[in-house]
């Protein structure tokens, strides 16, 4: 699902450099990379070609600053406001590959999984670029029904997701051994929601209320066709809308814990035997409800890329956000520490970031967000925290400050 954001920046690019006190001759401040998490895309029976890989998150362009998880930022200046990315990627393999597949194969049986794997790794032991596979391994063996799903054991099996993707290696320095094959990257990712009480299927009272809404209706008259989908009758529609909105309001600041990890290999000649490690990444995101008035979010993320173009290394982001508000508004303060452990020690760097933000619900599908923040103590960047250039406002289709929304 893709939601769109209109982003308006207060700062103009021309103003920005001066306002930040930068020397025009100095090297530009290390930019940050906006990485939109791969959207859930249309399932397809076969994987289709994947668009040209985007830039892999590298050590020199840490993904500290990320467009809100449900947003598409427009305009480069908009990414100057560092906001913690509090989302766990749906498919970590695609994230570490830096791709957004147009189609994802989601096998439901072991046979389908085998066939899908065959699109990534051929019988000749060669990697085939363009594969994008996502599945829950436990579901291949046993798909739990609703009663089983409400048991934590089955729920973890249901929610553990594996992702696997391949793409043509974007590393320009890569060479082929035979000259006949191009380098290919392979990534495997894992994602698990350890705790998520907002899952509506776990709320037995809510499920009973839904069932009650459909019970006791008169039977339908004799059919005249195979069936055409129609909107609910207005009374049923209002019952369901109330159940849904009440539950969403109740869970606006829910507690949750999610983890994800991915491992990336590259093969200069696309063969399995020539694969070598290229990188890895791990995400740990937790959020805790603070009674009825707020939410605390913790983010820990490490991305390693040994083949990054300029300064390979590992980036670490550790931070947190405190949100105070309610179902229709929120005020947040966040801070994070970033560290680049570069393979060239001279480029090691550690820096902080801090941002304050406000969001307000305008209509059912639009939120106004105003944020203010910047990084500090970062190499090659003059600190000018209190500058109008660090102010941004945006209209988003979903709220972005909370985890799990």
């Amino acid at each position: 699902m893709t939601t769109r954001t209109l982003v308006f920046t207060v700062a103009l690019a021309a103003v920005s450099a001066e306002a930040r006190g930068q020397d025009p001759a100095a090297p530009p401040a290390a930019s940050t990379t906006a990485v939109a998490p791969p959207d859930s895309t249309t399932s397809g029976p076969t994987p289709a070609a994947i668009p040209t890989p985007a830039t892999i998150p590298t050590a020199t362009t840490p993904t500290t600053t990320v467009a809100p998880a449900n947003s598409i930022a427009s305009g480069s200046a908009s990414t100057d406001i560092p906001m913690l990315d509090t989302s766990v990627p749906d498919a970590p393999a695609f994230t570490i590959l830096g791709i957004t597949p147009s189609q994802i194969t989601r096998p439901r049986t072991p046979n389908e999984a085998g066939a899908a794997l065959g699109t990534a790794i051929g019988m000749d032991g060669k990697l085939h670029a363009g594969a994008a596979i996502e599945f829950a391994p436990g579901l291949l063996l046993h798909a739990p029904d609703l009663n089983e799903y409400q048991h934590i054991f089955y729920r973890i099996i249901h929610n553990a997701q594996l992702s696997l993707g391949t793409s043509s290696s974007p590393i320009s320095g890569a060479t082929t051994t035979s000259g006949a094959s191009s380098p290919t990257d392979l990534a495997i990712g894992f994602r698990l929601t350890i705790y998520d009480p907002t899952d509506p299927l776990l709320d037995r009272k809510l499920m009973d209320a839904y069932k009650q809404a459909f019970s006791g209706r008169p039977p339908p008259v004799f059919p005249t066709s195979g069936g055409v989908p129609a909107d609910f009758a207005s009374d049923l529609q209002s019952k369901i809308s109330k159940l849904k909105s009440d539950a969403e309001k109740k869970a606006w600041n829910a507690t949750s814990v999610q983890i994800a990890a991915a491992y990336l290999w590259t093969s200069p000649d696309s063969s399995l035997k020539s694969m070598s490690r290229k990188g890895w990444a791990t995400w740990l995101i937790g959020s805790e409800a603070l009674w009825g008035w707020g939410q605390a979010i913790e983010v820990f993320r490490v991305i390693n890329n040994t083949s990054a173009g300029i300064d390979p290394g590992t980036t670490l982001v550790a931070g947190g956000r405190l949100v105070v508000g309610g179902p229709r508004w929120g005020v947040s303060a966040e801070a994070a520490y970033n560290h680049l452990y570069a393979e060239s020690p001279g480029t090691n760097d550690g820096w902080g970031q801090a941002t304050a933000a406000v969001e307000m619900n305008l209509t059912s599908s639009s939120w106004l967000e105003i944020s203010f923040g910047d990084t500090f103590d970062k190499q090659g960047q003059n600190d000018r925290f209190f500058s109008l250039a660090n102010l941004k406002w945006a209209i988003d289709s979903k709220r972005v400050l909370l985890q799990g929304n």
């Binding site: 798909a143 499920m207 055409v228 929304n405």
Partner: protein, 127 residues
Amino acid sequence: MALPTIQFSKASASVLQVDVLIGNLVYGYYELFLWDRGGTVQTKIGGGVNNDDLPDTIKLPNAPATYDGQTLQWRIDAAPLPNGDTTYSVRVRVRQGENDLPGGTFSWGGDLGDGKEIVGGAVLVGK
């Protein structure tokens, strides 16, 4: 719009079965009915909630030949859940034993909006 037909074998001993699958993260509620040949007597033969990715299966317990000319009817509701999906998918599949029957698979899907209801049916035709 004419009612579709589902062809089955009267001679086969395998019973008729109906699979109902309401996919995606939505609340799925369904009811199945049978109308007699004259279209005057309606009998509820099954119903329930299908929120998972597994189809519910309702068996028509009598000998298949007894259902010749009867009309199978379904009423299926897909309702939005809090923080759920905004699209839905529904599939009704009529089988005889493990074999899908000709004309026996129906599927719908798309934007869920504030909820969708599908009321339809098909005539069971024995050969």
